[in-house]
Symmetry: C2
Subunit: 227 residues, 2 copies
DNA sequence: ATTCGCGTTTAAAACTTTTAACATCCCTAG
DNA sequence: CTAGGGATGTTAAAAGTTTTAAACGCGAAT
């Protein structure tokens, strides 16, 4: 998993240093800005995953920065501000910020809230990351996969069958189950058809197709995928 | 878009009523629970999109409820509590809550924070919801679409081309652009090939294929998709 | 030993994609 | 206003892929 990038926008030197120190310790990649204009330019070049944003800043207020970022990005924004009244918070949240922490803030709480804001991103990364069989990366969306003989294209049925099989790892799946799920209830090819596809998968992925590790056959029942 | 479901867990009657009234006004679907055990059973039956959770509850504390929910769900949880110290907040957030608002809370701020927590969900729904052309729903993932003659299967290329074209609505796209994007730089069929696919799309989707509304051809240039 | 099920190869069947050919429409030049 | 050329619509068939079936051999189970 990549380091998550945080842009810290804060003009008070002490606070900035504390934040830098602690967020670095947490393993985030950091960039800093000390005024509103720098914040926007750093935002564009750094493309952070989260912005910690002070409200009172030289040149351009945090509110303005937030408004502008929101015109082109949904990146999580967390306001840090000495202006801590309910009205201030509401104002900030209405601008599209995701959270608003009054100063002085508790460092532990800040770290937690940062984690919370970054969590959906991490999940997403997990979901969109491609599936791996051994060392081979399968790209279902684009119908291709790495294989022992380099990148090969996958056909529609190959994709569908492979998706179904790997969705049930370590489970023995009967041929009929496969036919039902991948081919649908109407169409019913010979169940031997499945064997042909398995044969292909073994050619793509198995070191030794004669002794399959990933695509094992269970005599009399069906197949089992072992990651 | 469906109504979003919120489970309110709160034993103080006044607060519960205020919340109910206002969240109803905002258009959320609501369920309520007045103690920890009811909260868990309602959670399972109601399957809410967000939980508003009081900390001090009869039978089972909000903390316990949160802990248990987190063992099987990532639903956003927002604590509401009279226990408002930093340590309380940190404790709640560490349990996996997404936000923590001390009582007395400002209603407007609560509504905003609820919106923020529900936002990712809404986005997701938008993404996974299928594309529509007229009244016909296109299911790119499963290679099929409704059409004037019922459900039809889409081929790989049909999907790719259709995806590309609808990704640029109201824009005139030249044949060469289409070839570059859908076929890739290497392979180059006659540009007339595209016409054949367009012909199919019109058969699928146009009321009157002779006078296309959705897939218009722009003489000398290419095609334009108008939703 | 015989039967049954799977692995494997090969080829036929089905389907998709591309090309070719002709029809039709639209613009423009005469 | 009309003829001709160029572009798109339409159909059908060719070429290319994918999917399915058939056939045979091998090894395990009964």
């Amino acid at each position: 998993m990549k380091k998550q990038k945080i842009l810290i926008v804060e003009d008070e030197e002490n606070i900035l240093e504390t934040l830098q120190l602690n967020l670095d310790l947490e393993g985030y990649a950091l960039e800093t800005a000390v005024d509103g204009e720098e914040a926007l330019s750093k935002f564009k070049s750094f493309q952070p995953d989260l912005v910690l944003l002070d409200v009172m800043l030289p040149k351009k207020s945090g509110y303005d920065v937030c408004r502008e970022i929101r015109t082109y990005s949904n990146v999580p924004i967390l306001f840090l501000s000495a202006k801590g009244t309910t009205q201030d918070r509401i104002f900030g949240l209405k601008l599209g910020a995701n959270d608003y922490l009054p100063k002085p803030f508790d460092l532990e709480e800040l770290l937690l809230r940062i984690q919370i804001l970054l969590a959906p991103l991490q999940e997403q990364e997990k979901e969109t990351s491609n599936f791996k069989i051994g060392d081979f990366e399968v790209d279902f969306k684009n119908f291709k996969t790495d294989s022992r003989s380099g990148e090969v294209g996958l056909t529609k049925k190959e994709c569908e069958l492979l998706k179904y099989i790997v969705s049930r790892p370590n489970e023995v799946i009967s041929r009929n189950e496969i036919l039902d799920h991948v081919w649908g209830e109407e169409k019913y090819p010979t169940s031997r058809t499945i064997d042909n596809f398995i044969l292909n998968f073994r050619k793509y992925f198995e070191d030794n197709p004669k002794q399959p590790k990933y695509f094992q056959s269970i005599r009399g029942v069906g197949y089992k995928f072992t990651p």
